[in-house]
């Protein structure tokens, strides 16, 4: 219990403790630990296959760690069902897009607000008055996000046909609709050009400030990670190899070696 107290006292929203994931003989994560303070933007970097997405999947309970523990707001999430993760305040986007392709942008965002609404099969079938009111609230919130992220022009289109970068923004809007406390962004800059990456950096900071969201950012665009992150964790081959401010991590010899190879 004292550890729980400590975690809250030092403002940690997320504690990853010695998390390991083994798939058969393959070790995807090999005992990674780090803490995240509330309200920070934390970068998570590492070469391809380092285990970044695996860690994200543990945080959203899609993978079950072989060992270790994950504490969110001081409580272990190891017994939380995957569909309860949005409820407790963990939201995410996906590296290769996981949108509902046939649904419109508005509807995708409204699915994001599933945890913000309560109507069920029966009340929906009869469209009880409170269901209509709930729908109206969800729709307004969805439109607020559509305006916030500049998706107005495509709001009624099915997302499957939209450009990659636009789909990434829809995913962001969908994740925000759940009103997360922590937002896990898996390569949000994928497929964006140089200017768009810069805009995205500003957007991430703006989201953190406007919406009181803590952000864990997986990204290969080093300029983006280094410019927006308060803290950076670097992993390679499932192990943490460096941690600190962007400057510290950039100077870390282990990190340099992981990215540039071992040429001594």
């Amino acid at each position: 219990m004292s550890e729980v107290g400590n975690a809250l006292a030092d403002g940690s929203i997320l504690e990853v403790r010695d998390v390991a994931v083994h798939f058969g003989g393959i070790i995807a994560l090999d005992g990674v630990s780090f803490n995240m303070g509330r309200g920070v933007i934390q970068g998570l970097i590492g070469p391809n296959g380092a285990g970044k997405t695996t860690l994200f999947n543990c945080l959203s309970r899609l993978y079950i760690p072989t060992s270790g523990d994950i504490l969110f707001e001081g409580k272990s999430i190891m017994r939380t069902a995957p569909h309860k993760i949005a409820d407790i305040g963990i939201g995410r986007t996906f590296q290769n897009l996981a949108l509902f392709r046939t649904m419109s942008v508005v509807d995708n965002i409204m699915v994001g607000a599933h945890n913000q609404s309560r109507s069920d099969f029966i009340s929906n079938a009869f469209r009880l008055p409170w269901v209509s009111r709930e729908e109206a609230v969800l729709r307004d919130q969805a439109w607020e996000l559509i305006d916030y992220l500049g998706l107005g022009g495509v709001a009624h289109q099915p997302v499957g046909g939209l450009p990659f970068g636009t789909q990434k923004r829809v995913e962001l809007a969908r994740a925000l609709a759940a009103k997360p406390k922590i937002l896990l962004l898996d390569e949000p800059a994928g497929g964006l050009n140089h200017d768009e990456v810069e805009d995205l950096g500003n957007l991430i900071k703006q989201i953190r400030d406007d919406r009181n969201v803590t952000v864990l950012l997986v990204e290969h665009h080093m300029s983006l990670v280094m410019s927006v992150s308060d803290q950076v964790v670097a992993i390679d081959f499932g192990r943490k190899i460096g941690e600190g401010t962007p400057e510290e991590v950039q100077r870390n010899p282990e990190v340099i070696r992981a990215y540039l190879g071992t040429t001594n």
Binding site: S60, L62, A81, P82, H83, K84, I85, A86, D87, R92, F94, A98, L99, F100, R101, T102, M103, D107, M110, V111, G112, H114, N115, S117, S119, D120, F121, N124, A125, F126, R127, V131, E134, E135, L138, R139, W143, E144, I146, D147, Y148, G150, G152, G153, A155, H156, R174, A178
Partner: protein, 352 residues
């Protein structure tokens, strides 16, 4: 904030001009189609023969079953070759209630639906672990087992065994209507209520969750949707619809017997759903029409080309097959997709 000036340029309602009917906001064209369709559905049976009315009633019954299957497959992405079993369960529930317990026919509809909801929900639970073809196989087993179960000796007291149960068509309490017309309007009322219910379901939070699960189950789970519960519930609701269709079907056909509910009935529902259009509610009507009239039309076509040559009878199903292939090729989104295409073309013109 930047949001304010966006609001002006982006209408929040759907782009087409929309109206309200029964409290539902919908585009003008759709409303015209709906009112016209309902008008035809009410007036036409007053003008045609009793047999034609009987056929129209059967179309509605099939449409309700197809709608049930479409909620499961079209909207939620779960395959079923077992819907003949739910149809049979509904039909037998109604028949047994009427025959043994002398329940008035209209009081049997909801119980039949509820029994099939429970059946569907319970079947949906183990089906959670199955996907695609494997689920199709499991539901196929259900379809194959059900007629045999209905014949089973120890149930004979209730089910009437191979003989089945006779159900008597209710008399019309309204003098101006024949028994067939009365039953037609009763089925129409059930159908309209079920369609409104389905429409409410699929356009709300529940429907979004159902479609989200179909499109991307992992993302749906991450968004907080209890995918297992929704899938089982959808199975239950689908059973509810198909069970009600079965109950109505039993009353319309005045008879239930195990061999009326073979696996082939499931295939007919599947054909109706695909031809009508996946994930579309009006498609159910189109599917019902196709199931009932297409075999007859095939027969007509054969008799036009071959007269009364008895050996040409064999070609009826070939013709039907050709019609089916043609439909799937020409209108891959189903008849409802075709209608939607026309409406979109027609609705755009004045605006642009």
């Amino acid at each position: 904030m930047a949001s304010v000036d966006h609001q002006m340029s982006n209408p929040r309602a759907n782009p087409a001009d929309s109206y309200k009917l029964f409290g539902i906001q919908m585009p003008k064209v759709r409303m015209i189609c709906l009112v016209a369709g309902l008008g035809v559905a009410i007036i036409l049976p007053l003008l045609v023969t009793n047999f034609a009315v009987f056929q129209m009633t059967q179309v509605l019954v099939y449409a309700i079953a197809v709608l049930g299957l479409n909620l499961l497959t079209g909207y939620n992405g779960q395959f079923s070759l077992g819907h003949s079993a739910f149809y049979a369960l509904g039909a037998y529930t109604a028949a047994i209630l009427i025959d043994r317990y002398e329940v008035v026919f209209y009081w049997t509809i909801i119980p039949a639906g509820v029994v099939c909801f429970i059946g569907g929900f319970l079947f949906g639970l183990p089906a959670l672990r199955l996907d695609g073809l494997y689920l199709a196989l499991a539901t196929f087993a259900l379809a194959v087992a059900t007629p045999q179960l209905l014949k089973y000796g120890h149930f004979e007291e209730f089910t009437g065994g191979v003989q089945g149960i006779d159900v008597f068509k209710p008399d019309s309490p309204i003098e101006a209507l024949t028994a067939d017309q009365y039953l037609y309007f009763f089925v129409l009322l059930c159908g309209v209520l079920l369609i409104i219910g389905a429409w409410n379901l699929v356009r709300g939070r529940t429907g979004r969750a159902m479609i989200a699960i179909r499109d991307n189950p992992i993302a749906a789970k991450t968004m907080g949707i209890n995918t297992s519960l929704y899938k089982s519930m959808t199975f239950g609701v689908s059973g509810f619809y198909t069970g009600i269709a079965g109950a109505l079907g039993a009353i319309v056909a005045e008879f239930v017997a195990p061999d009326s509910f073979t696996f082939f009935l499931s295939v007919w529902f599947l054909v109706g759903m695909v031809v009508g259009g996946l994930a579309s509610i009006p498609a159910a009507i189109a599917g019902g029409v196709f199931i009932l009239y297409m075999p007859n039309i095939s027969e007509e076509v054969i008799s036009i080309f071959f007269g009364n040559d008895p050996s040409a009878k064999a070609l009826i199903w070939v013709t039907f097959g050709l019609f089916l292939i043609f439909t799937v090729y020409v209108v891959p989104n189903g008849l409802a997709g075709l209608v939607r295409l026309f409406i979109m073309k027609f609705a755009r013109r004045p605006g642009e």
